[in-house]
Amino acid sequence: MKLSVPDVSCRELVELVTEYLEARLPVEERTRFELHLGYCDWCRTYLRQMRQVRDAAEELTEESIAPEAKSALLAAFRDWKRGSGGDEP
């Protein structure tokens, strides 16, 4: 049964969170997003965590990443691209 409620679901909120944080949601979509936050503690926590991640990421520069961490990240992305059928050898 599809519920008739005015707000987004938790799943939709997760999909929209980046646009919300970047203020790219249309006004009506933003209202549906915030109506959900009005009662959902889990999504409020998720939004807070995503905001913290975004704020931390904004402070990162290439130079601020330790060489070992940078190597590990590059390796992970290479493996991920191979696994997803990317066009690299």
């Binding site: 519920l3 008739s4 409620v5 009506e28 109506l35 009005g38």
Partner: protein
């Protein structure tokens, strides 16, 4: 225009974390309607429940939407002190008992007498009301949140319960309208 606004403890906007200073005007870009200052009419209150309720003054233009109003400029005037723990508890309990009445005809027949006779929410919790019907599952949820003293969750699930019996969004909004009337009377606001 004078309107209402729910905030988290300490006059903090619950989603953005913006801390309001009572009396100080806050201005948003006029061409960014998504960033305007949001507030409630009395009819909108159940949708935005939070720890503190404030009266706010909004400058023109005020955009009236379905569940809220918005303006590029606003300031907090005063706390609505009537919205305190005891009124929040009374509202939460009123929503829970109303949910019991809405759910009752839809519960599994074997459960109805016990739920109808229950004299407390604890007594309903002792019954496995979720068994056998969607309405029962929602009622169990409502009772759980009410016993935890959670007005926003209790009233939301109560409205979902109302909508689930076939009335859809209209029934959801009708339940929210009942909740808004309860709050307006309980808080003595118009």
């Amino acid at each position: 225009m004078i309107a209402l606004k729910f905030l988290a403890t300490g006059a903090v906007a619950p989603y953005t974390g913006f801390r309001w200073s009572p009396g100080e005007w806050v201005t948003a870009p006029a061409d960014r309607a998504d960033a305007w200052i949001h507030a409630c009419r009395a009819a909108d209150l159940p949708y935005w429940l939070d720890e503190e309720l404030w009266r706010v003054e909004l400058d023109a233009p005020v955009h009236e939407a379905r569940y809220q109003i918005a303006s590029p400029r606003g300031r907090l005037l005063e706390r609505v002190e009537a919205w305190d723990g005891s009124v929040a508890r009374a509202f939460t309990n009123a929503c829970a008992w109303r949910a019991r009445d809405v759910a009752l005809p839809q519960l599994a027949p074997a459960l109805r007498d016990g739920v109808a006779r229950a004299a407390s929410l604890d007594a309903i919790r002792e019954i496995d009301v979720a068994r056998g019907s969607l309405a029962g599952a929602y009622l169990a949820d409502v009772v759980k949140w009410a016993l935890q003293g959670r007005p926003a969750m209790t009233s939301y699930v109560g409205a979902v319960l109302a909508s689930s019996s076939g009335g859809g969004l209209a029934a959801f909004e009708a339940e929210r309208a009942w909740q808004a009337r309860w709050l307006a009377e309980g808080l003595r606001i118009e």
